[in-house]
Symmetry: C2
DNA sequence: ATCCTTGCAAATCATTTGCATGATT
DNA sequence: AATCATGCAAATGATTTGCAAGGAT
């Protein structure tokens, strides 16, 4: 279970396991992709008193620890998601705002080419494509 | 010249040509990729009194008009660049922060594949890859 | 008992907006 | 002269931080 990992990693660092930290981590797992504010709302469903600044601090901590990652979709809003799911590419639809995911292998060709021609190593875990999804294109 | 286009487009809309608007547009051309703040600094080199809110308003206007575009690189900072150069892919180095550019044609394979398999139309003018450039990888 | 975490409030930072003054057409 | 644009300052929204009180080990 995820909370076991959390407890363990925290202990290794001499940090403490708290209800807030468990809730924030669960919220990230549940939501898939979420902004700090959305995480805060989700957490509030269970524990209304949790402060937004605690959410920020906890997300930062969880990212440090390696349990979550964040990306910047659309207009600069940071969205957090579980680190285990890191290896994917985001497809963000400008029409409906939906965030879809695809295998990072779609980038194999590009990343090879960029490595060869530019010496640039692409971080395939942090790629987002903006555009229009099938539904929005059809309508 | 660019300012001719600016004057012309403004006139068509019943808007006015001002020194500030010319300066902001020039700054965007000069800087290549720049945040509102960087544009403001550049403009200040010539006209110290220009207000930051004027820069924001002007960038928005220039984007409306179609002379500049903006993208979100790295941690959510919006960067503006000339619309004429829109068709390129950004390579953002996490090491040194440098922003390089490549032809959007590197994405031909991926965008074809996503269109076929997902029905997703990639906006190739707004793609950024994060990673490590040759210099940073070597050191 | 120690010292990490939290909540609260204030501080910051980026961006936006209202309004009176000043500039462009 | 008629409006549009600007500067200024205050408002806003997001995120960060200081600090004292509370909680985990």
């Amino acid at each position: 279970m995820a909370s076991d990992t959390l407890a363990q990693v925290l202990r290794e660092r001499g940090l403490r396991l708290t209800a807030q930290r468990q809730l924030v981590l669960e919220a990230v797992y549940d939501l898939g992709h979420a902004t700090p504010d959305q995480v805060h709302c989700k957490v509030a469903e269970t524990a209304a008193g949790v402060n937004i600044s605690t959410v920020y601090r906890t997300l930062e901590l969880l990212e440090d620890i390696g349990l979550v990652t964040h990306t910047h979709l659309s207009h600069g809003a940071p969205t957090y998601h579980a680190a285990a799911e890191e290896q994917h590419v985001h497809l963000v639809c400008r029409g409906c705002g939906r965030v879809d995911e695809v295998q990072p292998s779609v980038l194999d060709g590009v990343s090879d080419q960029l490595a060869r021609e530019r010496g640039f190593t692409v971080d395939v875990g942090h790629v987002s494509f903006f555009g229009e999804c099938r539904d929005c294109a059809g309508g």
